[in-house]
Amino acid sequence: MPVAVDIDAFLDHAIWYAVRAQRQVFAGLAPGACIGIVPRAVARREDGSMLLWQATDDGLASRRACFAGFARCDADMMFVVDDEAMAALDGMAPGEALAALRRQVRRGTIVLYFLKCEGALVALGYEGFLETLGLTIMGACR
């Protein structure tokens, strides 16, 4: 993704609104839980913008933030999204958004990195969210 040109389009993409609108998916998250979303090109350069979803008492707040590499990122987990995923997610009906996201995670066009330890993730209420994504908090062991 040519970051300089498309970053706004990425961060404002309708798919993120549609996923965030699935309130029940995020219902188990404790206030402060924070999920990041970043294009692969930004993740590779370790320089650019990302989207942060932060759980609050009133639901999930969304904001932009700087991404300067995983080591300096405060999110609990990061979705790193490549071009192929965005192409697949484009034009997806809101009701299909979560299933589409899950498919791309499974396909590997979206990689979910964990920046916090398992105990912290459990304490922040992520178990249900991960199960919804078709991931198991204890590892896949395939």
Partner: protein
């Protein structure tokens, strides 16, 4: 080494052909692979009596080369990937290792010690793990990464060399380094985790530098008389995330070979890989081509291989065809430590087959010891209570239910000298497992092999089995005083009467009946119950052309599915486009279908020609009261006590059989 494993193999002559490996004469071409850390040891890395008892069993497997499980080589524990992993960074650990090397040598095997620095899966007791670069993990079990400095890399290489030297001092013949599953060596080799811009990162030549330095130092430490084996990925299965391609992997293998190592063990996949490598949804033999490629590329290099290759007959054929030189096997020997002997003696029909359920490995993510679904003795070798000892009093035992719990109990009790009769109302052995296995989309032969094993054991031990026989109080009056013990292993039951059915309740079929072929589903199907039985049946019926929906009262599907297998059902349900209605209650079942309601109370009609009830399942305990005053000892086991699934049923049945 027993005579049979040494000389056996009139049928599998390639597998049992002696072979020269360096200065060693190896009696056969079976290498015990250290693919599992047992988690039986102390938290600070010392071997325990439990481990030593287990290792004696490993020594007795008949393998020509035996690799002891991986020890972490550094005092800080950055390389420690498992809760109770063994350590080898100091002389204080030597006595335990000396004992193990002695066991292996007494058995006639070449003894190899694996060194395992878990890299991005390490630092289990620390707040961090070390890696070539800071790339977080894609599974949440692990520790946040720290980038290794060049000094730390040099120190890490020295730790490995020291641990290798200690291995030889302990009496091991050789050493193995491992990049299996995405450990440190793999982290350097893979561009997924190696983002360095110095001489250790970039092109494969640079990424392989750490490996070459490691090999060089370890070889120097152990000398030319002691073989060095390296486990390397033939495929990482991380390439879609930017990891090594297959070509890259083979280039790295060639780099290792050029450093003068003595054997390459070809492995597949990382723990984080987004696709299966060793689960039962992968067909046996699927990855053999990777070993064949390695052998073709490096014809003079001994190649060991065994990834998802549980069958000695297939291994023998692969060796005959020059695909690899050694069958590297671990999990099938967890399932049946006698496998190699049975292969040598032409008794493979008596083997207990590894069913690829991965319960062995998955428990390690919970920091628990490894475990085997089909081998209840595993890990309990040190406990006499798990051994089959002759019964002090020979009893006449009746077992009701020929499923896994009942059959395990029957086999164990018979071996101890009891006279056992098994009763089942079905027309074959296997209980509900038979129906479940028939519909398994993964690899039905694996689960069916358990049923076949029971049939063979019945024949071998002369266990009487009375099929098509319903046991109840009336039946019992006819056999009064014929038995000293009754064991109820009747499994689970589902309550059809609680359903809101208009008219004949029999319009709702039981999942067990459909799965076993006693009843047939037609047209559009609604399955009530989204646990493992319901999901398996729904997926299978869908592939057979039915339009299927699943209704589940809980918020999520697969509540009783092993955590490591849930993803598989999620993927199948999605691929097969089976609609699932979770958090829904059944309001009405009528001729036109099933009416359900969600949490909001809104009703939906799911049209159905067949309605199948698959859950919730409870223990079938109806016989306990009926038999209470009719037999001296009355016991229950398996799902009839608490429904927990096949693995627990097998373990329960065996334990009871040991105790009667």
């Amino acid at each position: 080494m027993t005579e049979t494993a040494k000389a056996g193999g009139t049928k599998l002559k390639h597998l049992f052909q002696p072979v020269r490996f360096g200065r060693f004469e190896v009696p056969n071409r079976v290498k015990y692979g250290a693919c599992c850390v047992s988690n039986y040891n102390t938290r600070d890395g010392f071997l325990t009596p439990r481990e030593l008892a287990r290792t004696r069993v490993i020594a007795g497997t008949g393998c020509g080369i035996i690799t002891n499980q991986g020890a972490y080589p550094d005092p800080k524990g950055e390389g420690k990937g498992y809760f109770r992993q063994i350590a080898l960074y100091d002389e204080k650990f030597l006595p335990g290792f000396e004992t193990i090397a002695g066991y292996f040598h007494d058995a006639g095997a070449v003894a190899i010690q694996q060194l395992l620095h878990a890299g991005r899966y390490g630092g289990i007791d620390l707040g961090y793990c070390v890696q070539p670069s800071v790339v977080p993990q894609t599974l949440p079990h692990f520790r946040p990464p720290r980038e290794m400095t060049k000094d730390e890399i040099r120190e890490c290489v020295q730790h490995h060399a020291h641990a290798a030297r200690l291995s030889i001092r302990a009496g091991f013949d050789g050493v193995e380094l491992t990049s299996f599953m995405g450990y440190l060596l793999a982290n350097f080799n893979s561009p997924f985790t190696n983002k360095r811009t110095d001489e250790y990162g970039g092109p494969a030549e640079n990424r392989g530098r750490f490996m070459r330095e490691l090999i060089g130092e370890v070889k120097e430490a152990i000398g030319d008389d002691h073989p060095l084996i390296v486990r390397l990925n033939g495929a990482e299965l991380m390439d879609r995330w930017g990891g090594s391609s297959e070509d890259d992997c083979f280039e790295l293998m060639q780099q290792a070979a050029a450093c003068g190592i003595d054997m390459i063990s070809v492995t597949v996949g990382w723990q984080e890989a987004p696709e299966s490598s060793i689960g039962r949804d992968v067909a046996p033999g699927h990855w053999n081509h990777l070993a064949a490629r390695a052998k073709k590329l490096m014809p003079d290099m001994p190649i060991a291989f065994g990834v998802r290759l549980p069958d000695p007959v297939m291994a023998d054929r692969c060796i005959a065809e020059g695909e690899f030189d050694y069958w590297e096997v671990c999990r099938p020997l967890l399932a049946d430590p006698e496998l190699v002997h049975k292969a040598a003696e032409g008794r493979l029909d008596e083997r207990k087959r590894c069913v690829g359920s991965l319960n062995c490995l998955s428990r390690m993510f919970r920091d628990l010891p490894y475990w085997c679904t089909v081998n209840p003795r595993l890990g309990h070798e040190v406990e006499p209570e798990y051994h089959l000892r002759p019964a002090a009093v020979a009893k006449r035992v009746m077992i009701v239910g020929a499923g896994p719990a009942g059959m395990e109990c029957a086999i164990a009790a018979t071996q101890r000298g009891h006279t056992v009769t098994v009763f089942d109302r079905a027309d074959r052995i296997g209980g509900n497992l038979y129906g479940y296995a028939s519909h398994d989309l993964a690899h039905p032969e694996d689960l069916m092999a358990i049923v076949t094993y029971y049939e063979r054991m019945v024949e071998k031990h002369g266990i009487e089995v009375r099929l098509n026989t319903t046991v109840d109080s009336r039946f019992m009056r006819g056999v009064l005083h014929e038995f000293d013990v009754a064991v109820i292993a009747t499994g689970t039951t589902v309550d059809r009467t609680a359903l809101p059915v208009d008219g004949d309740p029999d319009r709702v079929l039981l999942a067990a009946d459909v799965a076993a072929g006693r009843r047939e589903a037609t047209g559009r199907v609604v399955v009530i119950g989204g646990g493992k039985v319901g999901l398996t049946l729904a997926e299978s019926l869908c592939t057979r052309g039915h339009e299927v929906s699943v209704v589940e009262a809980e918020k999520r599907l697969g509540g009783d599915v092993a955590p490591t297998w849930k993803w598989r059902h999620t993927a199948w349900m999605e691929e097969l486009k089976i609609p699932a209605y979770t958090g829904c209650t059944v309001r009405r079942i009528a001729g036109d279908g099933v009416t359900i309601a969600g949490a909001d109370g809104v009703e939906t009609l799911l049209p159905a020609d067949t309605v199948i009830l698959a859950g919730p399942a409870g223990p079938d305990q109806a016989l306990f009261r009926q038999l209470e005053w009719m037999v001296d000892e009355l016991h229950g086991c398996g799902d009839s006590m608490v429904p927990r699934g096949m693995g627990q049923a097998i373990h329960d049945g065996y334990r009871l059989g040991c105790r009667l």
